[in-house]
């Protein structure tokens, strides 16, 4: 479990990145910090592995204040995935994945064995092991980033807009993969994004942030879509623009064409005799 206790970050020049933030993140769940750029979400994420130290309040992992831990040791037991993968360009895929096990003293052979196993876990072809990151596609690089974060089998996974830089099709595939992985691995995931659809797709808990790390609303995806706490959340979800009020029209060949309030087609709902047509 991760707990933020009135955590805040003010920079020496007086800029307030995060005012006062309190949140409890239950173990084995995915919590998404959702907000536009400058809302302090990355700062909050980095407080967990001490890449940023809060200037007020504290962050606890399983009841222990992270400030009591040596940053280097702490980071080695927390997985971290960032945008643009953050892979080390001078190391082959297999060595990138084996980085943390090697740092913690695992022999090279065993670390590589572990890395190969993780390549299978995240769906990477073993033929890519000897490649350099620059020789991979964006989607493959992100998979390597996820594999690398999992290498030391951490309980906590911090993900900072990990799928932000890949095209929409690949992003959806990566999200699907992450959901599959999560049912299997059950990590405590803290995931940062500005993409509402991504938040709805991945989060057990979604925290909508306003500038300064203010919580606009925290809840399950259902709660947030069904009952947005205020205008800010509604706007963020696109509720005010009618993006989430859906209409369905019967199609000539059967089934329903679903569109938003503005008439933009969103998808097709197949005919289901057990269900009454929406309307």
């Amino acid at each position: 479990m991760i707990e933020f206790e009135r955590a805040g970050k003010t920079y020496p020049d007086g800029t307030v990145a995060v005012g006062e933030f309190s949140l409890r993140i239950p173990s084995h769940t995915t919590t998404v910090l959702l907000g536009s750029s400058g809302c302090g979400k990355t700062t909050l994420l980095r407080m967990v592995n001490r890449m940023v130290d809060p200037t007020s309040g504290r962050v606890l992992i399983d009841g222990e204040d992270v400030a009591q831990e040596a940053p280097v040791a702490l980071r080695r037991r927390i997985g971290y995935v960032m945008q643009n993968s953050g892979l080390l360009p001078h190391r082959r895929v297999i060595d990138n994945i084996a980085t943390v096990p090697r740092l913690t003293g695992m022999p090279r052979g065993a670390a590589h064995e572990r890395a190969r196993e993780l390549m299978r876990t995240v769906g990477l072809d073993s033929g890519l092991a000897r490649r350099y990151p620059g020789q991979l596609s964006g989607g493959q690089q992100q998979r390597v980033g996820v594999a690398r974060a999992l290498a030391s089998d951490p309980n906590i996974l911090l993900m900072d807009e990990p799928f932000g830089a890949v095209d929409p099709l690949v992003r959806m595939e990566l999200q699907r993969e992450l959901r599959r992985l999560q049912t299997q691995l059950r990590k405590t995931i803290l995931f940062v994004t500005h993409d509402i659809d991504e938040a709805l797709a991945l989060g057990d808990q979604i925290v909508v942030l306003q500038p300064g790390g203010q919580i606009a609303q925290a809840g399950t995806p259902e709660e947030i879509v069904a009952a947005p706490a205020n205008d800010f959340v509604a706007r963020f979800l696109g509720l005010d623009a009618g993006r989430r009020s859906l209409r369905a029209r019967p199609q000539p060949g059967g089934g329903w064409l679903v569109s938003d309030a503005g008439g933009r087609p969103l998808g097709v709902l197949p005919d289901d005799p057990a269900r009454e047509g929406p309307g």
């Binding site: 080695r76 971290y80 360009p89 943390v100 740092l103 620059g134 020789q135």
Partner: protein, 206 residues
């Protein structure tokens, strides 16, 4: 050519003066560059200060240096130290810029993975600065090979002796041979450095 043995000997002497200086300039530039990058306020001072060394005329330096370090004017050590200083003048700025240009995201990623500050320098920043460091080193190498010749005026043997002797005795062939061998040596060393770079940094050409 009967002089081939003589020229070969001078080439050897030339290398004995230049190689240690090139190596020393490279190795000493790294801690200085790292210091300059870490102490931002001192950066301009360190880079400017070492850069100014290059403005010192070479011949006076060869003559003044023995007074400061207690060697003879014709000691090879005197020549090597002077050449190292000139090498540093070029290399410290190159190295500081090379280390500074390492991608910030990569640096952050290395930190997030749990590299210590020192570990990150040796295993991430230094290798990634490699191509730019190599570019700087190539300039130092060529510059040093050509500068060595000046020491011939003091009477220290090198390919430069072919100029001084040839000039005094009016032997054009000797001067020509000196020029040709110096250029050849500089080119060969440069080629060697490029090959070494390819060997050590296979990731940089993708």
């Amino acid at each position: 050519m009967a002089n081939a043995g003589h020229i070969l000997g001078l080439t050897g002497a030339h290398l004995q003066l230049s190689l240690p200086a090139i190596a020393a300039a490279f190795l000493l530039s790294l801690p200085l560059a790292r210091l300059a990058n870490r102490l931002r306020p001192a950066r301009a001072l360190i880079l400017g200060g070492t850069g100014l060394l290059y403005a010192v005329p070479s011949l006076p330096l060869f003559i003044v240096l023995p007074v400061l370090i207690g060697t003879g004017v014709r000691d090879t050590l005197n020549v090597i130290v002077a050449l190292t200083l000139f090498g540093l003048a070029l290399m410290v700025r190159s190295a500081a810029d090379a280390l500074d240009a390492v991608d910030e995201d990569t640096r952050l990623a290395a930190t997030a993975l749990g590299h210590s500050s020192r570990g990150r320098f040796w295993t991430v920043e230094l290798p990634l600065a490699g191509p730019a460091l190599l570019a700087g080193l190539r300039v130092v190498s060529v510059s040093t090979i050509s500068l060595v010749s000046v020491s011939a005026v003091l009477g220290v043997q090198s390919l430069g002796s072919l100029f001084t002797d040839g000039f005094q005795r009016g032997i054009v062939a000797a001067v020509a041979a000196g020029i040709a061998m110096t250029v050849l040596l500089a080119l060969l060393l440069d080629l060697l450095l490029v090959l070494l770079g390819r060997l050590l940094m296979p990731w940089s050409r993708r």
